[in-house]
């Protein structure tokens, strides 16, 4: 389930450094909320849609990625339309659609690892105020490692309980899972230290 949402293609959009992509997302996000002309907004939307072509994202993938947002757009269009007027409803939806499309485009064209790396690099200046980049990157890699482990431990605890005659009881599973994972975390912290973490 942790297969990234990234779509591997060789395109101009893919090659833009992640930092710039996130920056442009912020810019687009701000700009669309300042514009009140539906024609300009539509123009932006078209440009953004063109990004998908440029990035050579298969359109089925694109649709699948934005589908959860589509229902939201329809709903808000109706609600805003009924509560105010259909022109402002259109504005609301165009803005949101542009924002959603840009954000999704960034995700589809940027490797997770590249994104994490540039995030770590962005945090680097914060070293002065006590943010240790090595610790940040350890936190990332441990979190990734733990996702399946938490799932596995849950399974194992459930197995152990089933073996002893308890079939389904949410709390009875969740509490030992949490304790067991905390215990594991303590041991892992020892193991990390034992391997000279932090120099």
């Amino acid at each position: 389930m942790t297969a990234p949402l990234y779509v591997d293609r060789d395109s101009v959009v893919h090659r833009i450094p992640p930092g710039y992509k996130v920056l442009s997302l912020v810019v687009v996000g701000t700009v669309v909320f300042l514009i009140r002309d539906w024609r300009i907004l539509t123009g932006i939307l078209v440009v953004v849609a063109a990004l998908y072509l440029l990035a050579r994202i298969p359109w089925r993938t694109a649709v699948r990625s934005i589908r959860p947002g589509l229902f939201m757009l329809v709903f808000f269009f109706v609600v805003a339309g009924l509560l105010t007027d259909w022109l402002s409803a259109t504005l609301v939806v165009l803005r949101l659609a542009a924002l959603l499309l840009v954000a999704t485009a960034v995700t589809l064209t940027t490797r997770t690892s590249a994104m994490i790396e540039s995030l770590e690099r962005a945090l680097y200046p914060l070293r002065r105020v006590g943010v240790n980049p090595e610790k940040v990157s350890l936190a990332f890699s441990l979190a990734l490692r733990f996702v399946p482990v938490v799932a596995r431990i849950t399974l194992e605890v459930r197995e152990a309980q089933r073996v002893r005659g308890m079939d389904r009881n949410l709390i009875a599973v969740a509490l030992p899972v949490v304790i067991r994972t905390l215990r594991m975390a303590d041991d892992i912290a020892d193991a990390v230290d034992a391997r000279s973490f932090g120099g």
């Binding site: 605890v157 197995e159 309980q161 089933r162 073996v163 002893r164 005659g165 308890m166 009875a172 030992p176």
Partner: protein, 224 residues
């Protein structure tokens, strides 16, 4: 009697056990094999914790696929890693856990817990936090928690690895004294000396099925 018929087990597309057919009816069956050969996988199939990808596993005629619950009540299971088996905060609560699930009366639970704690020298630890026990102490606890339920079959996945010598002896004596059928997965070849039958798992199949000394020879030959 536990019977496997044409059992195949694959994780994703990696086949770990390939078309096994075997019947376990003896009182003491050992299972040995190299690391990663599929012993734990085999053991989990016996009580329906894992269901075969193909084929059927039956315990006294009950299909693990359809009668999981009854099968698990018949077949006790002691896991390789005792950590995963501790499900309650303190030692005595943990031992009582299975009995509570069987809805036994309180007095009976207390009596059984007392007895099993005594039998496995866990009395001194009874109010201790189970998660802070030493490795061997946890393993004894895991064992006590299962045996207290008096299952008809006991499957043990490397239960002696963390035990000291007296505890190991005690465990083996306890297994020998059991009325129940015991299936023991182990790397500790000595513990199998008095077993009736030993299976060697190798490359997805049962490479040998014989009395201990013969099976051990086959195993050492297969892995070297």
């Amino acid at each position: 009697m536990i019977a496997l018929e044409h059992v195949t087990l694959a994780y994703g597309d990696r086949v770990v056990l390939d078309d096994l057919t075997v019947t376990l009816a003896e009182k003491r069956v050992g299972v040995i094999g190299a690391n990663g050969s599929g012993k734990s996988t085999f053991a989990r199939l016996l009580n329906g914790l894992l269901l075969p990808t193909e084929g059927t596993v039956t315990v006294d005629g009950l299909d693990t696929r359809r009668s999981g619950r009854e099968v698990r009540r018949k077949v006790g299971f002691v896991f390789q890693n005792p950590d995963n088996q501790i499900v309650q905060p303190t030692v005595e609560e943990d031992v009582a856990f299975g009995l509570k699930n069987l809805r036994l009366p309180k007095a009976e639970i207390a009596a059984k817990v007392d007895e099993v704690l005594r039998r496995y020298s866990l009395e001194k630890l009874r109010t201790r936090q189970a998660h802070l026990l030493s490795g061997g102490e946890k393993q004894l606890l895991a064992l006590a928690g299962v045996l207290v339920m008096r299952p008809q079959y006991v499957v043990l996945d490397e239960p002696t690895t963390l035990l000291d010598w007296p505890n190991r002896r005690k465990l083996m004596d306890a297994l020998t004294a059991l009325e129940e059928t015991v299936v023991l997965v182990t790397h500790d070849l000595e513990t199998l000396a008095e077993f009736e039958r030993v299976l060697v798992i190798h490359e997805g199949r049962i490479a040998a099925d014989a009395p201990p000394s013969e099976a051990i020879d086959a195993y050492l030959k297969a892995v070297s």
